[in-house]
Structure formats: C-alpha cells, structure tokens
Symmetry: C2
Subunit: 726 residues, 2 copies
C-alpha cells in the first residue's frame, strides 16, 4: 500500500474531524439539552487525565435504574471525553458503580458506618488505587447510584479533576418535588414557557421523548417527585380514563426515582363520585376516598399522594361543611396511610369573610391546628406570607408549628418576577428565605432547619417548587430560566449550598467552562434578583402588578371585588407616605413572628430597608439610612434597578463570539425587553406615586417617557400564564 | 518530528472522527430539522463525485436574500458533503448562483427566451463545462436563486447526480400560502401539534429562532405567503400594538420571499374603529378601511392582504347589512388595491336561514356573483363542498366562476383525518381533487387548470393550505405529518407532480436514502389515506365525527342546534338504507356540476363506489360492484381499513435499526394508537348502523369489542384543537 496516499487520507480524515468538531461547536444550541449537554472537555490536559482515569465503566445493576445509569454514563462520558467509553460487566472496570449488595468488594473501600450514613438516596464516590487508579460510586440503592453517576458527570462537566475523590452526599429533605400548575387541556396557569409538556390526549400509548428527558434532568439534580396537575384541580384526573395516563408517566419516571403525585379536588366525591357531599366527616365520603385511593394504587403502586388547595381562591374545601383544614387533610391522609402516601396540604388560604391583613391569614388559620394533623400530612407553606412577590420576609408559620412538618413551597416559574421575558436568578431569593432565622428555638433556628426537620425533629420533610417547565424547545422559555429549575433541585438536595456556587456549576454545564464566560454569566445571574426587586417593588413594596396576568405594573388598580386583590391595599400610598403598617400599632403582622424578629421588623429604626414598606407606613420625607428622603430613595432604587439591567446587557454583549450564537442572540433580545420593562415599571410606578407624594422627581432619575394616563391605558388581554378569556 | 507518533496521532484522530460520525447517526433525531437535515451523502461514489463538482460556491448577490442563500448553501453543502465547502466571491466558482443582472456572463449559458420564461420566481440550473465542470443556478430575482439553491440541495439530499443538469422550474400558481388558524393567546383552532408558534407576547423584540427555521422550511418548498391569524378573527391584530409585532415577522420573512397576510374581522371598524356600523357601502367604513390599510403598509410595505371569513359560522359580514359577499370583498379590495394587496375571500359559507343541502350553499351564494368582484379579489374555495372530509368530490364551484380567480383551500392539519395520532399522507387526496375533470370547457378541464388560471385565463392565481404547524419540537406533532406540509408546498409549486414522487423525495430527505427505508416508508405513506377513508368514512360517507373536536366517531349525534351540524343529517341511515340522495330526485347537488360530471355522480350505476353514499341513498341489500351487498361492503371496507393499518404497523416495524431509534419509536407508538382508533371507528360505526340495517355482521369482520352504549358514552372534553371550555 502506498504510504503517501495513506497519510494523505489520514490528513483528510483529521481535517474532516476538525470540521465536524467545529460544526459541533457552531451548531445552533437550542437549549433542549439543558445542563446535560456533555460537550467535550476543552482543557486538553484535563481531558487526557480523565481519559486515563475512565477507560471503561461498569454498572452492575440490571434493574431499570441500572439501565438508566448505564445509558447516561455512556452518553455522558463518551460526549465529555470525545471517545467511546465502553460499558463492561466486570468489577475491575476503571469506573465501578455498585451497591454493596451488588458487589461485596465495595466494603473493602467503604465501612459500614459510611454506608449506613448514606441512607436510601445518598451516595459516595471514592478514588481508590490498586494496580491502576479506579473510581467507585456506591450507595444503598440503585437510585443512590444514579444520583452518584450524575454527580460524577457533573464533576467532569465542571472541569474538575477526578483525582483523590472522597465525596459523600445525602439529601436532608425527603420529598423534593415539582408542582406543575398544568391543566388537562395543556394550558398552564402561570406558565411562561409555552404550554404543558403533558400531552394527556396521546397518553398512555404515546410517550413523548420529552418525558424521558424531563426525568433525566430531574434525576440529575435530585428531584424525586412531581405533582402533575394544577392545584386549581380538575377531578377528572382521578377517573380511570386519566389514571391510565398517569400510570404511563409513573412507569416511565420510576427508574429515575421520581414518584408521581396528583392534585385532589376536594369536591371530587360529588363531581365524579356521584355523592351529595364532600364533608370530610361523612362516612360515605371517607369510603369514597379510600376506594379511590385503592384504585389509584392499583394503577401506580408507588403513588406519592395528594397535593391539595382547599378553601382558597374559590376552591372547595372542608370549611364548606364547617370542618377544619385538619379534618379535610386527615380524611385524605387516612385513605393514603395504608399505602404510605402523603397529603401535602397547602397553607395558602385566605378567607373572604376574614377582614384581617392578608399576610396574617394563613398563620391565623393553621397555627391553632398544630398537632392535630395525621403523621402523613405535610403543610405546604409558601416562602412568604403574601404570594411569591419579588421579595417577601419569610412566612411566620415557619417555626410556629413544631408538631407539624412544614414543606417549603417556592415558585420557580416567575409569575411576579418578570415571567419569561426577564432574566432573574432566583436562588439568592430562596437562600434569603432559607437562611432567615425564625428564633423559634432562639438564635440559629433558620427556616432551612424547620423544613429539613432538624429544628423540631419531624420525621417527614419536604420541599416543593412550582415548575417553570413548558413546551418551549428550551423548556423554560427564557434560556436563563433553566438556571432556576437547576438551582431549585440543587437547593432541595442541599439547602446549605451557596447560590453562587450553584450558578457557577450551571453556567459551566450550560455554556462551557471558558473562565470569562463563567465569570460574566455568574455575575449577571447573581445581580439579577436584586435588580428586579429594585425596578419592580423596592423597599418592601409588594403586589403592585397588573390584574390577573400580573404582567407589568398596576399600582393604581383598586376596582377588584376583594380588597386584598388590589395593589392599593398593599402599598397604601397617601399624601403622608407609603407602606403597610403591620406593626403593633397597625395590622400587627409582626406579632406572628418570634419576639426577636418581631422587634426587628416592627421597629422603624431597626427594620431593614428591604422590608421597610412591607411593615411600615413611612412618610415621604422620612430620612433613610442613605441620607435620602424616602421619596428620593424610592426613585433611586427604581433607577438603580434599571442601571443594573443595563450593566447586565453590557456584560452579556461582551460574550459575543464566546458562546454559541443562537443562545447569545436569544438572551440579548430578551435583555432588550427587560430593559424596556424595567423603565416601564419605574415610569408607571413613580408617576403614580407622585400623585400622592406631590414631590418632584430627583435629577438622578430618568424622566418618564410617557404620561401616567398612557401607562394606565395599556392592556394585555393575551398575556401568557392565565386562563384565556373566551 | 517522530513520524510514528505522528501517524499514531492521525490514526487516533481518524478514530475519533468515526466515533463523532457514529454519534451523529445514533444521536436522537427530534425532527426539528424537518427535511433540511443535510446529513452526509452515504453513497461513497456519489459523495466523491459531488465533492469534485462542488469544490466551492459563489453567491454574487449581497442582498438579505443573497445572505440567506449563502448561509443555506454553506450549511447544506458542508453537511451533505461532510467537509467545509468554501463560499468565494468569484464568478469562477464551481457552483455559481447569480442573476444575469449580477453577472452578465450568465447570458453565455442561458438565452433570453429561457431567462424570460423563468418569470419572477422560477429558476434554472445548468451543468456547463469550460475547463472544469461547473454548475450554474440562475433566475431573474434573488428569490428565484433561493428556490434554485434549495433545489440543488434537494438533488444532493435525494442522492441524485449533479452531472449534465439542465433544469427549469417555474411555479404555475402565484400565491402559495399557508393559513394559520392561530389565536392571539397562542391556542390554535384545529391545531394538533401543540400551540401556535407565534409568541405574540414577546414580539416584536424577541424573535424566536423558530421563525427563521419556519421561513427556511417554507422557502425550501416554494411557499411565498403566510396568513398569521385565525379566520375566526380577532380585530385586535389590526391595532398598532399588534402591527408592530406583525412587522417584526414580515421583516424576518422578507428575505425568504414570504409575504405576510392577516385575517380581517369584518366588524373591525366597530370593534377597534369606534364606528357604529361595518356596512361595506357606508363611506365612513370604506374610509376607515382605507386608513387602516394605509397604516398597515407603513408597518409592512409588502403586506400581502386580507383573508376573510364572513357570514359563516357566526362571523360578521356584509350580509349583516343586507349586502353581498361581493360588496364586502370589493370594499376591502378597494382599500388594498393602491398597494397591490389582495383579498382572499372564503367561499366556506352556509346560512342558517337557508334550508338547502349544505353541500350546495357555497355554490348558490357565489356562482351568481361571478364577474362582480374587483380584480384583486380571489375567492378561496375548499377542495370539497362540505368541510375537509376524509374524502369529498371536488367542489362544484371549480369551473363554475370563469370570471373570478378561485383559490384552492386545502387543509394540511388533519381535523377530520386522524389529527395528530394518525399517519395519513394527504397528497393523494389533494391530487384526486386537482386531477378531477370539471368539464367546464369539456374534457380536460381539470381543477388544477382552474386554480392555475390556465382554463379561464385569470391573471391572479392562488392556493392555500391550513397549516399543521405548532410548538411541538418536530413542528407537526406526528413525525410523519411533516410530509403533508412538505407535499403541500411541492404541489402548490407544481400540481403535476405525483404524490409518490413527492413522498419519495420527502422520505429521502427526512429518513435518508437507504433503498429499503425509502421503499417501505413511501409504501406506508401511499396507502395511508385510502386506509383512513376506509376505517372512518368509506363509500362516500362523511361528517360522522364526534361533536366539536371531531375526534373519533359520533355518527349518532343528532342533538346539535343546526340540522347540518349533525352527523345524522349526512348519513341519513334508515331501515331501507344509507346515504344522502343528492341526485335530481333528491337535493340535486349533482345539478351544480357540469353535465358530464352530474351524470356520472347522479347515476347509481355510474357513480364510483367511493362517492356512492355522498350522492345516493342506497338500500342495505343493494348489490355492489364487488358482488357484496351494501351492508357487507361497508363492513368489508371498515375491516380493510383496519387491515391496512396493521400492514402499515408491520411494515414500519421492519425499519427497526434502519432509522434512528427516537423517530422509529415515536411512529411505532402512534401506529399503535392508530390501530386502536381504526378499530374504534369500525366498532362504533357498524354497531350504530346495525340499528338501522338489522343485519348480522359478516364473518370477515372482527366482532365489536364493546357495546354501542359504551362507544356512545365516551367523552373527550380536552381533545386538542378546539377552544377550551371554561
């Protein structure tokens, strides 16, 4: 054979490879792969090193989960290392994934105490050396192994060395679930990424490939449960026609460690059961639920349980029959108990008859019920006492119900936080809540310890995130909103992580490990939440969004049927000042907190600026810590928010050419919208508040572009995320 | 440098390349790329040959369209030839794309007559040889060049040689448009692929990358117009808030040769104009439309015009004021004429007061108006006289309005044809219509000649397809439904193409050129439509679908407010027989056709079996051409449809391992549903018809699985494609 030709051919092939490789890089990134892109490690030294360490891998389990691990490692390692990494069936593989039960040799490297500390979901990864370096992932269950495998892939994705690993990771919260507010017709309440990914019509026979990728993404961040349907529930999902479909999803999700839950409409016994009542103390009603639950478990043997919104915003509930929330929750819990199912009962309730401050109502309602719930009931409490505002103080129920497991309910979908047009990284907000000290047992009684059970020793623990997932190709509409799904999962697994470290991981996995890229995007993420608070609801203002769809400013709205649906109820601006007096001389919402917190929030001098107008009605002329008057401080905050967005825009533009064009352009366009919306918020809000303050705009604030009339006349009948009006 | 190491490195790189290549093949195909996948030519001889022929390419135009051509050829050629093909700016490139105006040398190869015959959209491709072989694409416009470039790419995609090319292609129909029945809230009436791809909320600032890929796909098959909004129109789209958004789309689509059209709600002058009337003869109304149209053209200088559904199914229209359709259409046409805009006025009308056969009403209404329309009005007529049924005879208006340009309205979305759960290739249906002889000017007066203007010499010609495009990753929900979008475009460009040749092109481009794959999928496509007619509405039966959503059988429905909304109106089954007597002794719908056709359809002996029950009420005992009684023939047809689906399933399964796993599995799952649905149609229909025929089911028919009661009790409140009910 002619050697020259041979070499020519080889050179050609190499060139072709580089073109192929280059195409790979410039190929449009549509965002579908989320943080599981598995692009080749681009540090050649590290790549070489890891290739030597992971020459092949073995997953000893042959369960459905074992298969999932094998596939994921195959896909991940081959992608990251840019060569095929072989799956072998020998314990002598360079990467070994096994439980001690699958391979007793594991016990050589992990002692019993180590193993037992892993519990049912934790994992350990250790570098061991015999003749050649080896890496071992172990756990007490296949699901633990799966979590460990994803962790190992994350190490490579984030350009970390695999040398001398000695990692142990155990989740502190048991139930880490997503709440989908998705309707059976595929609309999604408060969904801004298109529509529901659940194609109920084609289930059970058609399993959209998205379902699998959804399960992979969730498993990669430790989410182990999903509530498929809207809390504003439709009882039809409990009928056999739909249970067949639920079963299909549950079967698909099971190997990924994800349990399925449903929302249970309290009046279902009437609507689909033909009963005349849904009274939780009626024996027929209990019987109906017991039979229904038994039926559900026939379809889904590991069904997780029910999420219930009752006696809130028009939903039926036990109070319709003069019963308490505990009566309602316990009735369902009794039906679920034999199957180890749970009831997640939402504390987001407020009553029409109750004239008290809306911020106080959940506490008023639930605090007295502490200790009366069955042990398989968790009370699901939103992070703050109002409703997923850009910033809220932590909910006073945290710490106040020592006998009851409280689940955290975060909202990942950005209902009040810019929806799908604004880049707002939510982890810092969640961390602010989790790190807040309730003082329930004195100093050090953080919210995180309430929900992970450490403070009161609850046996059940849980956390829920209202999903931002929809049919958009990139899943979340705004490409950067993927970070919130990711961060929620990571925090649910480990509330002690910093939002910045999570952001960095996400950026590396999603945009690659170029240090300039990582630095820039992380910095944009980290400043985004404070910016959004500043340009929407600074200084503790809240619930000033336009009616219904909550898109854009509507601080002037005062015509809704319930007082506490109107923004004017919350800001209370008048000629004297602005803010809601929730101190002891006002609504006394501070009285629901433990004394240390009550004193801080309740004192005008001690209350942090960020919560000032949440708790105090403050004169326009009041001198703030900055030295500015309240009026000028307000103007300054709005302007600061806009300026921050412009910095974000500027920083983002510096990434041109450093990341793929498609996502670069997408975020760039969205930041243009965000800047416009920030200005809109400032203009509309400051013009409106000026009608009370009668003060001039300070020079440092850009003049409003239009008149207040103009802003008040804007209407968005088809803003997304609400039920369309026909 | 050590040669050995060098070679080792090269070998490694080659291996890496092959792995990379292999990954390319096994990578999940999500269907997003449609028929523009540009996978490497897998015939090595052909690949080598084409690589020699297309070493580089030059697009001389620097217009926006020129840029699009350059990008598409870059992407396409590099993908198909698996090496980077350089874009150069020399007329001596091996592939040259230029108009004679851009490069006068073109005239050496194409004479004036050839060039002038290309018109404004046609193109020519010629192999020429000087020193080296060269290929030249020419046209009189950049858009023509774009069409030519896509044609060349198609030649390579379908594994055709580029030798001795001498191709001329000119569309025979001017307006080749898609109709999107999409609402401003992103729901899509009769949409089965998710929701609307138009994200109105984020427009104009956010341009979803899908918009560009939508434009590329359409340009690749010659579609040159798109009606963005539902014919059941909302006037808000004509307000500045939305016109800004429309402008953004129009700007994006312009380089691809795609004009934007809107649906105009007839009562818009009242709803958004503040007038008291929409009477087309009112001077204020005309003035309002003239101003509105002028305003629209300020946003979109090449705006295409209006599509109007008036006085039909509750839509407002000129008859509300005692005026005719011509009065209404002409008023809008007058406003559009100065800008060269057109009115596409739909003939799909039927009146509540009119007790005549629904099949006759459009003809009754429009035939008398022939010759009274302004010259920029086209009347848009559905292929058949009822409403996109699985099979209809051609619409009697075709040929009957010689003075008026008639546009064809096909429905690509499968409202009555299995929606997104059934594989039904529609080209054979469209061809049956296009090839039907109207006898308007004697033998040879096919429908295709009516709509391309050849028969009556109309100066304006058009064709519309109701789009099946939605937010699903693969655009059309069912992966195979992409073939219908593709076939519609190809037929709109050239009605003389065979449905099989189009199918073959589509399969090669979408699934690759493996001959077994091409043969099998083409055969599945080609039999699919007849199968669906057989298991849903055989022998000329029609409109037997369940109410509202039209999902599944509902031949028993008789309780709808209008007689002609009820299936019983159409099948007229009784103890004697079944079918709608539309002969001269009945409703005399045959009288609307030219005599030759009327005689064929009107005579029981001559009427083809496929239209028998459309035109005749036939006794159960009637002996069919097959020798069977009508009752047994009906049973036989239903069974035949099911058997065909099972053959399709079987054939599809033979492709396992020959195409990518993801699409293989998707279609496989959907065929399972299709088989169930076919059986459901047969069971429900035959059980119901048996209550009239009182005859036993023949042995060759599988016994129904459930009772008629069961089928009648089925309900699908959330079937897709309709407005949700709140």
């Amino acid at each position: 054979m002619n050697r020259t030709i041979n070499i020519k051919y080889l050179i050609k092939a190499v060139l072709t490879f580089f073109i192929c490789f280059t195409f790979g890089l410039v190929k449009a990134e549509r965002g579908y792969d989320l943080w599981l892109r598995y692009q080749p490690v681009n540090d050649p030294v590290l790549l070489k090193q890891i290739r030597l360490q992971v020459e092949n891998y073995a997953v000893l389990s042959n369960s459905a989960t074992g298969l999932v691990i094998r596939e994921e490692l195959g896909r991940g390692l081959s992608g990251l290392l840019s060569k095929e990494i072989e799956s072998i069936s020998s314990e002598n593989s360079s990467l070994l994934v096994a439980t001690p039960a699958q391979y007793s040799g594991i016990k050589k490297y992990f002692d019993d105490r180590e193993l037992s500390a892993l519990g049912s979901e934790g994992f350990a990864i250790k570098s061991v050396s015999s003749k050649t370096p080896r890496t071992i992932i172990t756990a007490n269950s296949d699901i633990g192994l799966l979590y460990g495998a994803f962790h190992l892939l994350k190490l490579i994705q984030t350009n970390q060395s695999l040398e001398k690993l000695n990692i142990t990771s155990v989740p502190k919260i048991d139930l880490r679930v997503l709440n989908h507010w998705d309707n059976l017709d595929r609309t999604s309440e408060r969904g801004y990424a298109g529509f529901s990914i659940w194609d109920w019509h084609k289930l059970p026979d058609y399993l959209n490939p998205r379902y699998t990728d959804y399960a992979r993404a969730n498993a990669s961040i430790g989410i182990n449960g999903t509530v498929l349907t809207n809390v504003n529930a439709n009882a039809l999902v409990l009928t056999p026609h739909y249970l067949e479909k639920v079963k299909a999803l549950a079967d698909l999700f099971r190997p990924y460690g994800i349990k399925v839950y449903l929302t249970a409409r309290f009046s279902a016994p009437i609507e689909i059961g033909g009963l005349k009542t849904a009274d939780p103390l009626d024996a027929e009603v209990l019987k109906w639920w017991m039979e229904k639950v038994t039926e559900i478990y026939e379809y889904v043997p590991d069904f997780g349980g029910f999420l219930v919104k009752a006696n809130s915003e028009g939903q039926p509930g036990p109070q319709d029959y003069g019963r308490t929330h505990a009566d309602g929750a316990n009735m369902m819990a009794e039906a679920l108990a034999p199957f180890d199912g749970v009831v997640m009962w939402r504390a987001f309730v407020y009553s029409d008859e109750e004239p008290d401050d809306r911020a106080k109502q959940a506490y008023n309602e639930f605090k007295p019920l502490d200790g009366t719930f069955r042990e398989n009931v968790l009370i699901q409490v939103k992070n703050g006492p109002i409703d997923f505002q850009p910033r809220e103080p932590f909910h006073p129920l945290f710490g106040a119900m020592p006998e009851t497991p409280l689940m955290m309910e975060f909202q990942i979908t950005q209902e009040y936080l810019g929806q799908a047009t604004q880049l707002v990284y939510l982890a810092p907000m969640w961390k602010e809540c989790l790190d807040s000290d309730t003082y329930a047992k004195g100093n050090g009684s953080e919210v995180s310890k309430v929900i992970n059970g450490a403070l009161h020793g609850n046996s059940k623990t849980g956390i829920a995130g209202v999903a931002n997932i929809g049919t958009d190709i990139n899943w979340t509409g705004h490409p950067m909103a993927q970070s919130n799904w990711y961060a929620y999962g990571r925090l649910a697994w480990d509330t002690s992580l910093s939002s910045e470290s999570i952001a960095k991981d996400w950026v590396r996995m999603t945009y690659g490990s170029n240090s300039e890229v990582v630095k820039t995007i992380t910095s944009i993420l980290m400043k985004s939440w404070e910016a959004s608070v500043s340009y929407m609801t600074p200084l503790g203002l809240h619930h000033l969004m336009a009616t219904g769809h909550h898109y854009g400013p509507g601080p002037w709205v005062s015509n809704l049927s319930r007082a506490d649906w109107n923004p004017v109820y919350y800001h209370r601006a008048d000629s004297v000042g602005i803010g809601f007096d929730r101190t002891t001389s006002g609504a006394n919402a501070v009285g629901q907190y433990f004394p240390e917190v009550a004193e801080e929030f309740g004192s005008l001098g001690k209350c942090p600026d960020k919560f000032l107008l949440w708790f105090h009605h403050v004169p326009w002329s009041y001198q703030m810590r900055s030295g500015k008057s309240l009026w000028n401080e307000l103007a300054s905050k709005y302007q600061e928010g806009i300026d921050e967005v412009r910095t974000m825009q500027h920083d983002w533009k510096s990434l041109s050419g450093k990341i793929d064009e498609q996502r670069f352009e997408q975020v760039d366009m969205l930041l243009t919208i965000q800047e416009k919306e920030a200005v809109w918020w400032k203009d509309a809000s400051m013009l409106y508040f000026q009608t009370f303050s009668n003060r001039p705009f300070p020079d440092f604030m850009e003049k409003p572009r239009f008149s207040l009339d103009y802003y008040q006349s804007q209407s968005f009948p088809f803003a997304p995320g609400i039920r369309p009006r026909w």
